[in-house]
Structure formats: structure tokens, C-alpha cells
Symmetry: C2
Subunit: 391 residues, 2 copies
């Protein structure tokens, strides 16, 4: 394996201190990272960001990528520097962690349920008044309004629509009824609609996916029109995903896209098929886990130090060695993976192997840091500041 | 649902500050916890600890439970107060995090591979001289010795044996050869042998499991005898698991047990069968995730706020509602779960449901805190200080 010499040789504890402080540039190489390590290939990552941001801009839509994928303030701010209007956050605690690090333009994509969560939403709304919260229920809207009123705030809210998957109120009349309630409340301002069709994002085959997404999003577009026909302004319709960005951007009435996985890509998205072929290659794999061979119990078995705690296991396929099919990975429990070897194959104990991950979001949620790598050098350490913030 | 009134009503942000500081006793109830929340039922947990510690003591073995299950210094210290000689740690970074919080008697159960990891092991050995490291390769033993010698330290090492699963050197002659190398090195002291038979732990049916464990552990016992016949003292033979504790404790020559999951139990262990029946009920389920219903998109669907980021997904069965079969949980992506409802069933938006987890170790690794609950009250907040420490 290629290795680049660093300016000098550091000890393990010295490396740990540099990784902790983030003072790594020109000092720490990829081979210095303690494994399992989550790395992002900066060249691929920047290409992915530029491509998606450029596409969305060209399509005349707003770009509010979903931060549940990366949970990193550094990445959120980079995306905003590339033209994003802000970022989505799956939960209040995720949004609060991003806001605490200076991220703006937040859309919290799950409803805020219960008195104490509403009180936390008020605290976030006071800190970042542009934040948008979602609502799918009139009673919840009234409670948000009471709390906002008591705090002397106006909260921006979007109606969360159930478009076949996940959460929300049914489109058309039921959603319009919620919109009318919001419109009548003193301290809520209707920002518009959120409609996330998860069933579309992962439909295999571009033409199938297009049919599923159009079927899901058409009632969302119609709901927006119904509200506007009633004189209730509905500026926002936020939808889309990495699987449907170039489908939803062509649907008239969708104003904003909130894709997430395009940053990193993963094996799950690779298999859904692209516009021009069986492999979805609109974006490049940019996220990898480096593992080390820690034992060679038998001639045909190498054991690496990455198992269920290093890769999420929610997909029915394992991680794949970055170099190809030569080293097939199999899970071997919480802490280990097995590589079945043919006669005479390396690797040796101490060798490092990089793996493409099955599914990016829940894998990132296992790590406290993403190491940003260019070539062999570690350029930055990005704390996953909202890791574990699912509340 | 039953609810206990706290002394006064706190706001969400006030609750967050109390959970952060740990000042919760008499103030915070289970219903105040932001969800998804990982809780331990203290009554069940303490019963489990007492039962296992008492059993191991009665069997005349040492007790070094595996901390990879909980990653909490508070739990490690509690176990030591119950008679444990220390705790196992899966990795160096996990051991270091525990040691930094005052935990003693560490056995690091994965070999320390590579120059920088060896330097980190030396730092840990200097801080906690009783720490035991494992080795399965003569060359690795020599490198550890060189580093220990340069640092003026003596490191305790155990031979990691491959007994059918995971890592290690083959038993009998190959392991004895490694032992002879260690015995001849100036700055290593042979503590003994570690032999973990993961294939035995989860074998379904007590009699089957007994056969598998005895078959796996017999060569480990014989390896220990071979070393001692050569005049190489081998005081330690550490094995066992929650599945095999009462099997391995009856095998002459095994000196120490390192079970982990007995603390919490999970659906995975429940199904392996006990000595007296189809359900393994030696220990009680003590670990639960509280989720909240955040949306009711349809009459037959409740959506809760706990998905792949709240439960590990490495087992082929989903979480189970603590109350029984009434609310069947299905994963609905990174952040959500679906409860399929029959006509007229509650729950309503805002209701809380507690779930038994499929597999404890990788689920704990998703959370920064375990809330220790007795009845309705939160008695303590246990930081999962070694969360993510898989390096």
C-alpha cells in the first residue's frame, strides 16, 4: 500500500492529541488514524456537493440538504457556502446541536410532540428565529402557538404531509384543514409544506422511481395549490432525496430539495439505478471505513477490527472492500469482521483495508469524528457534533 | 399510563440541564426523559448483577465481566463493588476511557496491533500496571516487549486462543509456542490464556450449547496444562459468556468468567433456551428504549420516534413492546418505527411506549447516556463514556 511520509513520526498518544485538537494538516496521514476510522475522501465529497448544488440552482429550486446524514456543523456550513439556504435536521436535539455551532436556516423534519419538546422548540426558535418546524395535527399547532405566544415569538411552521411513507397528515382536505388552523393562529406563520416520499427514494430503476415519486408528490403540489386558492400563502414545498432530486426538481410546484446521502453515497444508493444505466453513479462514493487486520487465526481467514459497532447493519448486504471483490467482508459480531481468503492471499496482520459502507446515515451515527482526507493526508477532523441526537 | 408527579414541574430546557449534570434524584421522572431514551430498570439490573456475581463466586471462579456491553464507568465500578476483579474491554480506546474514569483490573480482549497502538498500550500500562493485554502472535509479542522495555515497564499478557470463533492463535502446540516466546521476553509476563467461544454463547438449547462449549473450551484447558507442564506458569484461563456461564464454570481449569449481556439481557439471549426450558430466563430484561408516538398518519398506523439510530439492527427480529404483542414494531428508516394498529386501538400522538431491544451491546453503543430508573423515578444518569471507542 502506498504511504506518504509525514514531516516526522509521531507516537500513538501524540496522534490522539492532534486528532482531538484538529491540528492535523501536514502532520497526520491516513495511516496514522486509529482504526476503525470513518474517512471522507474530500475530492469525491466536494465533487458531489458541487454537482448537487449546481443542479438544484440550475433547476431554480432552493437547496436545503438534510443534515441527518452527516450531523456535522462543518459540513452544514460548507453546504451553505455552496449555496444551500440552510439544512434540515431530523430532530430538535440535532437542530439544537447544529445551531449551537452556528448553523442557520434549519428545518426540523419531525413534529415537536409534548410539552417539554415544545419548550425546547421555543428555545431554539428564540435563538434562530428563521427555524422552520413541522406540524401534522391541529391540536399540536395550537399548543405550539400557545407556547410561542407566551414567549412572545412567532414560529415558522410547515405542514408535514404523509405521501406514502413516514409521518404526516394526509394530503388535500385534511392537510388544508391543518393549514387553515395554522393560518388562524396568532404566533405561527405558515412556511408551507414538507413532503418526503421515502418509498420513492429507494425504488430501483429510474423510470419506476419517477412514476412512484410523481405519484407521491402530485397530491403535495395540489395541496399547496388548494391552500393558495384559499388565500393562504404557501411559499415552501420541500421534498426530494438523493434518489429523486432530478425527478422532483422537474415537478412544477416543488420549491426546495432536501437530499442528504449524495454527499457520501453508499452501497444502498448505488443499487437503485441511474437515469442512464443500472448503476446509480450520479455521485461518487466518498465515505469509507478503514479497518485493520488484527488476527489471522487460519490460512483462509483474516479478522478485521470493524463489526456491528463500525458499520450499520440495516441493509441486507455487507460492506464492500474499496479495491473490489478480492476481500469479501462478513460480519463477525460487535467488534469484528471476517475476510475469507483464498490460498496464498495476503493481507497480513497490521494491514489496513478500506470499505464502502452499506448505508451512510446510521453508520455516521456510530462515530464521533469524520476524518477529511485528501490523497494520503488528513486535512481536517470534523466532529459529528449531533451524533446520537435523535431526540 | 401511570405517572408520578415530580416535586415540581420542570421545562424541557430545565430537564436537559439536570440530565446533563446528573442532578436528577427526586426531580426527574421517566416521563420527563426526551425520547428515544435508553433506560435501565435498576431493580432488574441489580438482581442480574447479584445473581451472576453470586454464581461465579459460588463456583470458585474470578469474575471479570465484559464492559463492551455497557461502556459505562459507573457500571464497571458497581460490578467491582459486587466482587468483580475488574472488567474486560474490547479495545484499547475503550479500556483507556474506562481507566480515565478510575476503573481498574482491565483485560483488553483484542490484540494490540501496530506501532502506534502499542504506544497507546504502553501509556495505559503505565497508568494501570495491572492491565492485561492479549497476544496471538510471536512477532507482536516481541514488539510489545521492545516497547515495554524502552518504557521500563512490565506488561501482563494473555494468549488469545482461537476456539472456533473470532480471533487468536490455534490451541495446543501453536499457542504453546507463543507462550514460550512470551516466557522468554524480559518485559512481558504471561498472565495466562483468553478463550472466547462466541459460537457457543448463542447456540440454541442448553444441552447443545453445553456440547459446543465443552468442545471449544477443552483444548483451551489442555493448552493451559501443556504450558504448566513445561514449567511456564499460566494462572489465568478466562472464558465464558452469558450463554455459557453455568457451563464453563463447571469445566475444571477455567479460572475466570467474562460474561457481559447478563446485565441487561435482550431478545437475542432470551431465545437461546435455559437449563430448564425453552426460554432463557436466568436473567431479567433490564434495558429498554422509550419511544414516543410522533404521528398517526392513518387509523391503522402509529409512527414512533425510534428507528435505526435508536436500536441496533444486527438481529433478524425487531424490538418488542414491553407490554406484549399488542403493538408490533417494524423499522421505518433511520429515525422512525411503525406500529401497525387494529381498529380502534390507541396509542395517541404523544403516548410513550417502551421496547425490549433485540441486541444490547450495539444498541448501547448508539447512546451517550443510560438513564437508571427505579419505578417511575430516574435515580441516576450514567454516561456511556466509552461509546464509540472501538479503536
Amino acid at each position: 500500500m502506498a504511504s506518504i511520509s509525514t514531516v516526522r513520526t509521531y507516537t500513538g498518544p501524540e496522534i490522539d492529541r492532534m486528532l482531538e485538537s484538529g491540528d492535523v494538516r501536514g502532520k497526520v496521514s491516513k495511516n496514522d488514524l486509529p482504526t476503525p476510522a470513518l474517512i471522507v475522501d474530500l475530492d469525491a465529497f466536494e465533487d458531489n456537493c458541487r454537482k448537487m448544488a449546481g443542479f438544484v440552482r440550475g433547476a431554480g429550486r432552493a437547496f436545503r440538504p438534510h443534515a441527518k446524514t452527516h450531523k456535522c456543523p462543518a459540513i452544514a456550513k460548507y453546504l451553505i457556502s455552496q449555496g444551500a439556504v440552510g439544512v434540515c435536521a431530523a430532530r430538535l436535539s440535532e437542530a439544537a446541536a447544529l445551531a449551537a455551532h452556528g448553523v442557520t436556516g434549519l428545518l426540523v423534519t419531525t413534529a415537536v410532540i409534548g410539552r417539554q419538546k415544545i419548550e425546547r422548540a421555543i428555545a431554539l426558535g428564540a435563538m434562530r428565529p428563521e427555524t422552520i418546524f413541522v406540524v401534522d395535527d391541529a391540536e399540536n399547532a395550537r399548543r405550539l402557538n400557545e407556547a410561542a405566544s407566551a414567549a412572545g415569538l412567532t414560529l415558522h411552521v410547515a405542514i408535514d404531509l404523509f405521501v406514502g411513507n413516514r409521518t404526516g397528515v394526509a394530503p388535500l382536505a385534511p392537510a388544508v384543514a391543518v393549514g387553515e388552523v395554522i393560518d388562524g393562529l396568532s404566533n405561527l406563520r405558515l412556511a408551507g409544506i414538507q413532503a418526503y416520499a421515502g418509498q420513492a427514494s429507494h425504488t430501483v430503476g429510474f423510470e419506476n422511481r419517477k412514476l412512484v415519486s410523481i405519484e407521491a408528490m402530485t397530491p403535495a403540489v395540489e395541496t399547496r395549490r388548494m391552500l393558495e386558492r384559499k388565500g393562504i400563502p404557501c411559499p415552501l414545498l420541500s421534498g426530494g432525496s438523493t434518489g429523486t432530486y432530478n425527478i422532483d426538481a422537474a415537478i412544477d410546484g416543488i420549491t426546495e430539495l432536501q437530499p442528504g446521502s449524495f454527499l457520501f453515497m453508499d452501497l444502498d444508493y448505488s443499487r437503485i439505478g441511474g437515469q442512464s444505466g443500472e448503476i446509480y453513479d450520479d455521485f461518487r462514493n466518498a465515505l469509507f471505513v478503514i479497518a485493520t487486520v488484527v488476527s489471522r487465526p487460519k490460512a483462509d481467514l483474516a479478522v478485521v477490527d470493524a463489526g456491528y459497532k463500525a458499520f450499520s447493519t440495516d441493509r441486507p448486504f455487507p460492506p464492500r472492500w474499496r479495491g473490489g471483490a478480492e476481500y469479501p467482508y462478513g460480519f463477525a459480531g460487535d467488534e469484528h469482521g471476517r475476510i475469507a481468503l483464498k490460498d496464498g492471499q495476503s493481507p497480513r496482520t497490521g494491514d489496513r483495508l478500506e470499505f464502502i459502507i452499506p448505508h451512510c446515515d446510521p453508520t455516521v451515527n456510530l462515530y464521533d469524528r469524520i476524518y477529511a482526507v485528501r490523497g494520503e493526508q488528513v486535512e481536517a477532523v470534523w466532529p459529528v457534533a449531533a451524533r446520537g441526537c435523535s431526540q
